[in-house]
């Protein structure tokens, strides 16, 4: 019989035990009677010889080994009864806990999904990311994406790794259906095999297709299959047209498949990309190399092998590969800024949970004190101390688990709204789910809380001086419990200080950042990426003409005031950093200072509202063949020419050709990196050059990067539809993508700060509320215990004010301790915030002072109510109570 069986059948087992013992007694008596004893005497002797039957029965039950469980069940039932007895207490405690555990569980669910879960591919621990590494760092660092030839050579040389690669792409998908932007990736044929994912329909790419000249093939996403082919099986073998090039669809990926964190529409082959740069070993054109360790291979082994391969290639191709090797790191999800935000929030939520625990602990302690005589009675009746401690802990664990259960329900309900509320989009949002990891976490947290706040009442379970406790009744407060209560209040205050100060710092930071001038007039500006018709790339004249048409057509759209083209838009992802020098005697390239280069058309200044400080901006005369010109911002003017007059000076920019360019104007600085980041950015200097002077050889590449910026006369989003129609062009296949207003882009740069402030504000408010409830409860409780004392004081002539002061002094002591400890911890928290949130204000005494005043005020108010009640005690009735 196993223990479960024994537990389940314990009634039946008890009956059998009775029967067995009865048999013994009766048999013994029968034997004695047979030997001639009087029946009554015989039964007496049998009982004597047997010993105490009740004791035997207990010992037999103990022998079953299920005793602890039976006790647990008993304690459990008792705990439920006790909770039901005081529904008010139970409600407050449960709600407090549910809030704490719920918020913590919610944050953990997000942390787990975004940061802790491995990548959604089979055996993710065997996946690695490869990069090139140079001995000497340049101003861009020393880690590089792979050059395509290096990838091909490493792939064929490696025995430890199956290496695949991919690269960002995307363009206009013009068939089947309406032309629109499609997110695409160029991949090597083996990528899906390396990831361990197969198409649900059709097949993966074949190695022989992954080379120039092979028949163009594509694999599409499940989403695109549904949208463009209506989920029809006939999609396999049919045609899609991307950027004017036709591909045969050979496969459809599973619905949940994502590459990294992206839901990609379309995959084509790297080997079919005919750009000359692909074959250039010196070009690092954003190729990601991902690999899977082959069975038996280790990461260490793979690293050693890559080092050898790197060395061999360096000897073979010294021009491009000298001092260059390859490194492997475990492949991890890219989550960017979300990491620090999430950990900060998780920490804040943990503080709220702690406050909730402390609150419930002080409630429980107050109740335990009034139950002293009950516990003393139990000890007097023979309960062991460990048994009482166990019972107390069971009670608080039941409370914890019940609160945790409600908390999990809160978390489940709040999860989707929270994810939707995340600024921008939460990375790996589809991974955020309540799963058994989360449930386990929530249960563990609830249990830990239960034990944490049950410990104080449990440990004061009476052991000695029973008689005193029993006789004293319920009126005394032991010094120990008062100290514990003060400790609880101090802890709550300290925790609340940390959250309040953090929220205050975030608030001040946001206030300061929002008041910064972005350098552009962000009102009524619309930005969108623009793709020309594939037909426009037949020759450079046609391309320039197509752009001219776009600008003219857009200008005619109602609501459009002015329009310009731009490649890198302020506060949006994507930059172009170029080295410059102010004389022909240039330093080595990797020591040259960098500036942000932006290619624009003449109306850009008007559209963006950037102030012209000196000279002029571009006009239609700045074209190919005329003197190459640039306009620089104030920062570059200062850096390159000091205080001197910059207009008319020359700059040498090797990436734009050997000849110098002429500075024709100086404009205001634009916070390109965003309101929060620009001041700390490494490269702040900016210059603009005319799109019309981009050489023919680069025209196609530049055209692919171009966006349009439009100043509108009314709300910019209202013109989007007509603008889309206006620029579609003669062949009806020119599309806009990533349509944003400048206000959205600028707001996005403060999104993290704003989001953190909002949540920290909520948490701080919650902490303040919980702390006040806690203080009120403790002070009211301690005061109620001192009613007779106050009665005596009043009877002996103390004034009401003096009694009130007595109470307030006590809580002031607790508040002071809490504030001192809290301030110290808050200094640490402020440090953490400064490191993890960009643009964070250095911690200021002002913020601390304001927040502490708020807190102390609230805490005093909470203790004022019981204090006033104490001062209004009627001495006579108070004394009679004793």
């Amino acid at each position: 019989m196993n223990w479960w069986h024994r537990l389940w059948h314990r009634k039946q087992m008890d009956q059998q035990l009775d029967k067995e013992l009865r048999f013994h007694l009766e048999q013994h008596a029968a034997d004695l009677i047979a030997r001639g004893h009087d029946p009554a005497e015989a039964r007496r002797q049998a009982r004597l010889a047997f010993g105490g039957p009740e004791q035997v029965r207990e010992e037999c039950r103990d022998a079953r080994g299920t005793r602890w469980l039976e006790d647990l069940l008993q304690d459990f039932r008792y705990a439920l009864r006790v909770l039901r007895q005081k529904p008010g207490f139970a409600m407050v405690a449960l709600l407090t806990l549910a809030l704490g555990v719920g918020a913590t569980t919610l944050m953990f669910t997000v942390v787990n999904g975004v940061l802790l879960k491995p990548l959604p591919y089979p055996h993710p621990d065997r996946l690695v990311a490869l990069r090139e590494k140079t001995d000497k760092p340049t101003q861009f660092g020393n880690l590089w994406p792979f050059a395509y030839p290096n990838f091909l050579d490493s792939r064929s040389a490696s025995h430890a790794l199956d290496i695949a690669a991919w690269r960002y792409g995307g363009g206009t998908l013009s068939e089947p259906g309406e032309a629109d932007y499609a997110d695409a990736r160029e991949i090597s044929a083996g990528l899906f095999a390396v990831l361990g994912v197969a198409p649900v329909l059709g097949r993966a790419f074949l190695p022989e297709e992954d080379r120039p000249g092979a028949a163009p093939v594509a694999i599409i996403s499940h989403g695109l299959w549904q949208r463009r082919f209506g989920g029809n099986q006939g999609a396999i073998g049919s045609r899609v047209v991307l950027d004017g090039k036709s591909y045969t669809v050979v496969g459809v990926m599973p619905p949940a498949f994502r590459l990294g964190d992206d839901d990609v529409d379309l995959f084509t082959l790297l080997g079919q990309d005919t750009q000359p740069l692909m074959q250039n070993r010196e070009a690092h054109i954003g190729l990601r190399a991902w690999a899977r360790l082959r069975p038996g291979a280790t990461l260490e082994g793979a690293r050693a092998e890559l080092a050898v391969i790197g060395h061999q290639l360096a000897e073979q191709y010294p021009k491009s590969n000298a001092g260059r090797t390859f490194i492997a790191e475990p492949l991890r999800p890219e989550v960017g800024e979300a990491r620090s935000t999430l950990w900060l929030l998780f920490g804040a939520v943990g503080l709220v949970l702690l406050i909730a625990c402390v609150n419930v602990a002080s409630l429980l302690l107050a109740r335990a004190v009034s139950r002293d005589s009950e516990l003393a009675m139990r000890v007097a009746l023979g309960a062991g101390r460990s048994r009482l401690v166990r019972q107390c802990l069971t009670e608080s664990a039941v409370l914890g688990l019940a609160g945790g259960g409600i908390g999990i329900a809160f978390a489940a309900a709040g999860l989707r709204p929270f994810v939707a509320f995340w600024p921008g989009s939460l990375p790996r949002a589809q991974e955020v789910q309540l799963d058994w990891h989360v449930l386990l976490f929530a249960i563990a947290v609830s249990l830990a809380c239960g034990i944490l706040f049950g410990l104080a009442p449990a440990l004061r379970a009476p052991a000695r001086e029973l008689e005193q406790t029993l006789r004293a009744g319920v009126r005394t407060v032991a010094g120990g419990s008062r100290r514990l209560h003060s400790g609880f209040v101090a802890a709550e205050i300290a925790l609340a200080v940390v959250l309040l100060v953090s929220a205050g710092m975030l608030g001040r930071t946001l206030l300061r950042l929002s008041s910064l001038d972005p350098g552009v007039n962000i009102q009524n500006v619309l930005i969108a990426r623009m793709a020309l018709s594939p037909g426009a790339f037949a020759n450079p004249e046609k391309t320039r003409g197509a752009w001219q048409d776009v600008l003219e057509n857009a200008r005619r759209v109602p609501g459009v005031e002015s329009i310009a083209m731009v490649d890198t838009v302020p506060m949006r992802e994507g930059i172009n950093e170029l080295g410059y020098w102010n004389s022909p005697a240039m330093p080595p390239r990797n020591e040259m200072p960098l500036a942000l280069a932006t290619s624009v058309t003449p109306d850009y200044l008007k559209v963006m509202g950037i102030p012209l400080r000196l000279g002029r901006f571009f006009d239609d005369q700045d074209r190919m063949g005329n003197q190459p010109v640039v306009v620089i911002d104030e920062v570059l003017a200062q850096k390159a020419f000091g205080g001197e007059q910059a207009v008319g000076k020359q700059l040498w920019i090797p990436d734009m050709g050997p000849a110098p360019v002429e500075v024709v104007g100086v404009v205001g600085h634009v916070r390109h990196w965003g309101l929060a980041n620009d001041d700390q950015a490494q490269v702040r200097a900016q210059f603009y050059y005319p799109f019309s002077q981009v050489p023919d050889s680069l025209l196609r590449r530049w055209s692919e990067l171009m966006s349009i910026a439009v100043r509108t006369s009314s709300a910019p989003l209202n013109v989007v539809a007509s603008l889309r129609r206006g620029v579609r062009g003669a062949s009806n296949d020119q599309v806009l993508s990533e349509v944003r207003t400048m206000e959205q882009l600028a707001g996005g740069t403060l999104a993290q700060q704003r989001f953190l402030l909002l949540l920290f504000g909520i948490f701080a408010g919650l902490a303040l509320l919980l702390a006040c409830i806690g203080i009120y409860g403790v002070v009211a409780y301690l005061t109620s215990r001192r009613v007779p004392e106050f009665g005596v004081r009043l009877a002996l002539g103390a004034s009401a004010g003096e009694v009130m002061w007595l109470v307030l002094r006590q809580s002031l002591g607790m508040i002071f301790t809490g504030v001192v400890i809290g301030t110290l911890v808050a200094l640490g928290a402020a440090n953490l915030l400064e490191r993890s949130v960009s643009g964070m204000q250095h911690n200021e005494a002002m913020t601390f002072a304001i927040m502490i005043v708020v807190l102390v005020g609230a805490a005093l108010f909470a203790s004022f109510l019981p204090a006033r009640r104490a001062s209004r005690i009627d001495p006579m009735s108070a004394l009679r109570q004793e």
């Binding site: 067995e20 048999q27 013994h28 010993g51 037999c60």
Partner: protein, 115 residues
């Protein structure tokens, strides 16, 4: 002179029960009787204290039990030795013998020392 009564040394009750049950299926009362007879009333413990030991041995799988009709026609719980119990009996018997031998040796030694 009546033999003096003493408590059982720790753990020996289990050994004695196993030994008695090894002779054949037997109920608790009979074990108590047999214990008393065999030990010639030297060992005197309340008969009830036998039962926790029996239940413990049953729970540990050394004894198995069935309800059967007794010699007087009433239903009683009969204990018998399991395979695991038999191994335990042998082990404990051996270790008991080793212990008594060792104790005997020590006692003889101390006698020799005083001579």
């Amino acid at each position: 002179m009546a033999p003096s009564k003493s408590d059982l040394p720790q753990g020996t009750l289990d050994l004695l029960i196993l030994k008695i049950v090894a002779l054949g299926p037997v109920h608790g009362y009979a074990i108590a009787q047999r214990l008393q007879q065999v030990s010639r009333d030297v060992v005197q413990a309340p008969q009830g204290s036998l039962y926790p030991a029996l239940h413990r041995l049953e729970n540990r799988g050394f004894l198995a039990a069935d309800w059967k009709e007794s010699e007087t026609g009433r239903e009683a719980k009969f204990y018998r030795l399991s395979r695991k119990g038999r191994a335990q009996l042998e082990k404990e018997t051996a270790s008991w013998q080793r212990l008594t031998e060792a104790v005997g040796l020590i006692l003889e030694l101390s006698e020799g020392g005083t001579k």
